[in-house]
């Protein structure tokens, strides 16, 4: 297995490693030379072009990098993973049924909606305070506010569940 499907900027690019320093991107061949300074800093030569690259974050299949002042988020998957996802997507009804998580650590200041209320996309559900600023947390889609996981005046961590829309 030397094939990786990379989703970048809304495009899908197939990257195939041939040997030592040959790689195909969408069938186009490049000479490449990758070196590591440390786990977070790499240097890539692509043909004769140079790229200093730093790893901003890696979360499962999501890799975020910075090169020449440009930030990229790439989703990397094998053929197998893509197939598995296609099957899953078909088996499960694509309904919006999702937990909304806290985008940052902060304090729940005010909950503006009640459970079982109908929420319209973009509507503010609660106010989160971080860095002494109030931030409205809005619903990313319309639906029923099924559950509120937090209470007013309690701190939340980044990524912790705030509420559920179904």
């Amino acid at each position: 297995m030397n094939e990786v499907y990379v989703s970048i900027n809304g495009k899908e690019k197939v990257v195939q490693f041939i040997n030592g320093n040959k790689v195909l991107v969408e069938g186009k061949e490049f000479q490449f030379d990758l070196s590591k300074d440390n786990e977070y800093h790499y240097f890539l030569r692509l043909d004769k072009k140079t790229f200093d690259i730093t790893k901003v974050a890696k979360d499962k299949n999501k890799i975020a990098i910075l090169t020449k002042g440009n930030y990229f988020e790439c989703i990397v998957r094998s053929k197998l993973e893509i197939n598995a996802e296609t099957i899953l997507a078909h088996s499960e009804k694509s309904r919006h049924k999702e937990d909304v998580v806290s985008p940052m650590p902060g304090m729940v200041l005010k909950i503006q909606k009640k459970e079982n209320e109908e929420i319209v996309i973009g509507e503010s559900v609660l106010i989160l305070e971080a860095m002494k600023m109030e931030n409205e947390v809005t619903s990313p889609f319309s639906g029923l506010l099924k559950k509120i996981y937090v209470q007013e005046n309690t701190p939340v961590e980044k990524g912790s569940k705030l509420f559920r829309i179904e």
Binding site: M1, N2, V4, V6, I8, N9, G10, K11, K13, V15, F17, N19, G20, V23, V25, F32, D33, L34, S35, K36, D37, N38, Y40, H41, Y42, L44, L46, K49, F51, D52, I53, T54, K55, V56, A57, K58, N61, I63, I65, L66, T67, G69, N70, Y71, F72, C74, V76, R77, S78, P103, M104, P105, I127, A130, M131, K132, M133, E134, N135, K158
Partner: protein, 493 residues
């Protein structure tokens, strides 16, 4: 001159002040909280002292602890930096009473300018134009509605006790006023311990232009020209430049003399900044006075050639200004970019984490002020400002290019920053033409995320991330070629 200065701050500004101390051969003493034990400012100072837990109220805002410490270590002056206690009149008064010199204005000046409503009254009396609105605290929702109707929508609620966008809410129609009033009061109370808010007419599409002034204790006042700080997100500045390409010589003259009048009206000494809103007809209105050193002071230092921090120390020590107004000339065009740990694609929310790798840009007239390096923890306790890049060139466009290159050379790993966002602003037509207002980011950069579509960069990013994907599963394919230097060559076999 002082023998020892205690720096009651952290991060890049503490580092900046430590440098000035060293240049003046003054012993620098920094303070640090629990989470800042190994922070740059705690290591660069000649001496450093633990002052408490990470929560600012336990450490950097703990007035008594800081003053007691200053006495115990025989510091003869305290530099407050910006933020934290820098504009806290009661703290400054305590410092004055303790016999230690406060490097900044008198508590009296700070108090006069600290209440925004009192400052507005003072300016009105001294002929400095103010934004139409109330000069008193709004006591009730009904009173707010009456004032708003008199002034005319859109209006702005602002906190009497502070700035930085906290307690600030825009209202375009009466239906929005109740929730905005509540929210403004809540934010003001949280941020400043005072829920007083007042109303200003919302000046639509203004520029934010401010004047740096400096004065000694002998009544000598100088201005160090203006800074344009119109590139703002969430009411906070992101890019600042000096001079402003919008001002002609005549407006500059009027603006700077209004600034000096404002400073004189509160008997000001040391460095300070008078902020103005400027409308498209070049009418300007007093916004507030910042009675302290500002984040964006490097651009003024670039174009004036004056070291503001050293000058602050000399003034505090009782020396007269080392220059006169006529000695000052605009030496070029300077730009500063603030590097924040934040997510521009997600409403600029602050990001926490570890700086895993850090390489700074350098080159002619590129200046970096920083409080971080590889290994630094960015905690939720403090402002997410990581560093500031400032550049100068003869002409504005050349300065923009220099900044763009500097940002490209800045490598930072492990934490998302606004670097790419800043580069996008530098390429924006309105920014390049200089015809931008404080609404630039909201108008041109909200909503759809604009992405870099450069194919070379995309390919490099794709190959690199594909490689990282293969790495854990196919180690047998990855050959590590050790080289004589620290670089490790990776090969796919």
């Amino acid at each position: 001159m002082f023998k020892k200065i205690l720096i009651a701050n952290r991060g890049e500004i503490a580092v900046r002040i430590i440098r000035a101390c060293k240049e003046l051969e003054i012993v620098s003493a920094s303070v640090y909280s629990e989470s800042d034990k190994y922070a740059l400012h705690a290591r660069l100072a000649d001496e450093s002292y633990f002052i408490g837990e990470s929560l600012p109220s336990e450490s950097y805002l703990n007035q008594d602890k800081i003053i007691q410490l200053a006495k115990a270590i025989n510091a003869d002056a305290i530099h407050p930096g910006y933020g934290f206690l820098s504009e806290n009149a009661s703290f400054i008064k305590k410092v004055e009473e303790s016999g230690i010199v406060f490097i900044g204005p008198s508590s009296k000046s700070v108090e006069m300018m600290g209440s925004k409503t009192a400052a507005r009254k003072l300016m009105k009396r001294n002929g400095v134009p103010i934004v139409p609105g109330t000069t008193e605290k709004i006591l009730s929702l009904d009173a707010a509605k009456i004032s708003a109707n008199e002034i005319g929508y859109p209006i702005l609620f602002k906190a009497s006790a502070g700035g930085g966008g906290k307690g600030m809410k825009r209202v375009f129609a009466e239906t929005e006023i109740a929730s905005a009033f509540d929210s403004a009061q809540r934010e003001a109370l949280k941020a400043f311990g005072d829920d007083a808010v007042y109303i200003e007419k919302l000046v639509e599409h203004p520029k934010h232009i401010e004047v740096q002034i400096i004065a000694d204790k002998f009544g000598n006042y100088c201005h160090l020209f203006e800074r344009e700080c119109s590139v703002q997100r969430r009411h906070q500045k992101v890019i600042e430049e000096a001079p402003s390409s919008f001002l002609d010589e005549e407006t500059r003259k009027k603006l700077t003399s209004a600034a000096i009048n404002a400073a004189k009206s509160c008997g000001y000494f040391n460095a300070g900044t008078i902020e103005f809103l400027v409308d498209k007809y070049k009418n300007f209105f007093f916004l507030e006075m910042n009675t302290r050193l500002q984040v964006e002071h490097p651009v003024t230092e670039f174009i004036s050639g004056i070291d503001l921090v050293k000058e602050q120390m000399k003034i505090a020590a009782g020396e007269p200004l080392s220059f006169k107004q006529d000695d000052l000339h605009i030496l070029g065009h300077a730009i500063e970019c603030r590097i924040y740990a934040e997510d521009p694609e997600n409403n600029f929310l602050p990001i926490t984490g570890t700086v895993e790798y850090h390489r700074l840009p350098s080159g002619p007239n590129i200046r970096v002020d920083r409080g971080i390096e590889t290994g630094s923890e960015i905690s939720r306790f403090y402002d997410p400002l990581l560093s500031k890049i400032s550049v100068m060139e003869k002409q504005r466009y050349a300065a923009i290019k220099r900044m763009d290159i500097a940002l490209s050379d800045y490598l930072i790993a492990g934490i998302k920053t606004n670097i790419t966002f800043l580069k996008r602003i530098l390429k924006n037509d309105k920014f390049i033409s200089g015809e931008y207002t404080i609404d630039l980011i909201e108008e041109d950069f909200s909503g759809v995320r604009e992405i870099c579509q450069n194919e070379d960069l995309e390919n490099a990013a794709a190959i690199f991330s594909a490689y990282l994907k293969l790495l854990p599963q196919n180690n047998k394919h990855v050959k590590v070629v050790s080289t004589s230097n620290k670089w490790t060559e990776l090969r796919y076999e």
